[in-house]
């Protein structure tokens, strides 16, 4: 039997299968919270994650989900949380932004540039800066009359 290749691209492909616990349609890769994914010369897999917000309660859950997913490589796995660079909403990939929109969340944009994720109208109003999670605000669409959530630009 040939041992599977364990390199950074294999590890990243596996991380593409770990989803945000609060928005299960978007992977942590598309969310941009994987800062570093390395296979060391000692064979160990080391991952650094960036929390979207310092007080994000999901980060521990994500950390353990990453750890679980990478166990299949049969290598030591070390998952750390880092502030070495700040997570910003620009780190969400184009694919990630599209997935957010399809799930009913407006992707991060300046308050004047937010569009309704359902009907794409620009006639929207912010109801509250703060929403059900730290990373989201509450909006209302004046055209299709739907309340929706938008990711905060940060």
């Amino acid at each position: 039997m040939i041992a599977p290749v364990v390199d950074e691209s294999a590890v990243r492909a596996a991380l593409g299968e770990v989803f945000d616990p609060e928005i299960p349609t978007i992977s942590i890769l598309d969310l941009g919270i994987v800062h570093r994914a390395e296979v060391g010369s000692d064979g160990a897999i080391r991952i650094d994650l960036l929390p979207t917000f310092v007080g994000c309660p999901a980060i521990e859950l994500i950390r353990s989900a990453v750890n679980d997913r990478l166990q299949s490589f049969g290598r030591p796995v070390e998952v750390s949380v880092s502030f070495e660079v700040p997570w910003t909403s620009d780190r969400i990939s184009p694919e990630g932004r599209e997935r957010l929109r399809r799930s009913g969340f407006a992707p991060p944009a300046d308050i004047d540039a937010v569009h309704c994720p359902y009907c794409d109208s620009a006639r929207v109003a912010m109801d509250s800066i703060f929403g059900p999670t730290l990373c989201r605000s509450l909006f209302y669409c004046r055209d299709c009359r739907q309340p929706f959530e938008a990711f905060k630009p940060i």
Binding site: F53, V54, G55, C56, P57, F83, E84, V85, P86, W87, T88, D127, S128, I129, F130, G131, P132, L134, L138, K152, I154
Partner: protein
């Protein structure tokens, strides 16, 4: 002081370590105490949006406090933990600013306190944006992006209350007057802070940061015809805590004290 230095502290001028410890502790305690006070609005804020806002602000501040306590635990080394620093001290050993010691009060008091604290904290964070201590600089960079939303929230409400004659404005002014003597206590000088400035751990002295803070808030206070906090007595600004804090301490340590040493 420990005799064996932690891996993290090896990068710091040994003489500056104690005062850096004091700075991080004071920041963590500030965020912890205001975050816990904000959480008291969960379920009872004046409107649903503000219930969510105060709960989110509390969650942010407690998150900042936790990250700062974790950094401090790593700096101290030798088996220190964030939880032990946060919960296992007597009330007299907390180092938050006296500004945060006035009890929850009404909505106007909450807004007055949040505005004064958020703007003062903003000035302090600006002073740390280029800190020579990388882990603190990196954390501050992240925290500042979140605090921007806090200042927006507090400013919106300060303006709303100040511009509404009668009860809203009267209550706001009464709260600002009650907080005035303690407003600047966020900038209580730290023992040996000159060393922090010399080693580039912080850009300026607390007095210089206070001057920047006053310059930042003056235009809005003048525009709204609100009383600017006078120069305060900063003596004991982080060490004399009154009855409202003893009560709060009893609340936030109650779970911890009910089963000492329990692990979540």
């Amino acid at each position: 002081m420990t005799t064996t230095r932690s891996a993290l502290s090896a990068s710091i001028d040994p003489a500056a370590e104690a005062v850096l410890d004091e700075l991080i502790l004071s920041m963590a305690d500030d965020e912890f105490v205001i975050g816990f006070s904000d959480s008291e609005w969960t379920g009872i804020a004046p409107i649903l949006e503000e219930d969510i806002a105060m709960s989110s602000l509390a969650q942010d501040e407690l998150g900042h406090a936790r990250a700062l306590y974790e950094l401090l635990a790593e700096l101290r080394g030798a088996g220190q933990t964030a939880d032990a620093i946060a919960y296992d001290r007597e009330p007299a050993d907390y180092r938050h600013a006296r500004l945060l010691d006035h009890g929850r009060g009404d909505w106007a008091m909450t807004i007055a306190r949040r505005y004064l604290y958020d703007t003062a904290d903003g000035s302090r964070l600006e002073g740390l944006a280029k800190s020579s201590f990388a882990p603190l600089r990196e954390l501050v960079d992240k925290i500042r992006r979140e605090e921007r939303y806090h200042v927006m929230h507090a400013t919106t409400w300060l303006e709303r209350l100040a511009r509404h004659p009668g009860e809203p404005r009267d209550r706001l002014i009464a709260s600002l007057e009650e907080l005035a003597p303690d407003a600047a206590t966020v900038f209580t000088p730290l023992d040996g802070e000159a060393l922090l400035v010399e080693t580039g751990l912080i850009a300026e002295s607390m007095a210089a940061l206070e001057a920047r803070w006053r310059a930042t808030i003056t235009p809005l206070f003048v525009g709204l015809d609100l009383p600017m906090p006078p120069p305060g007595d900063l003596d004991g600004g982080r060490t004399t805590h009154g009855e409202p804090f003893r009560w709060l301490w009893g609340e936030f340590t109650s779970v911890r004290r009910s089963d000492p040493g329990a692990i979540w």
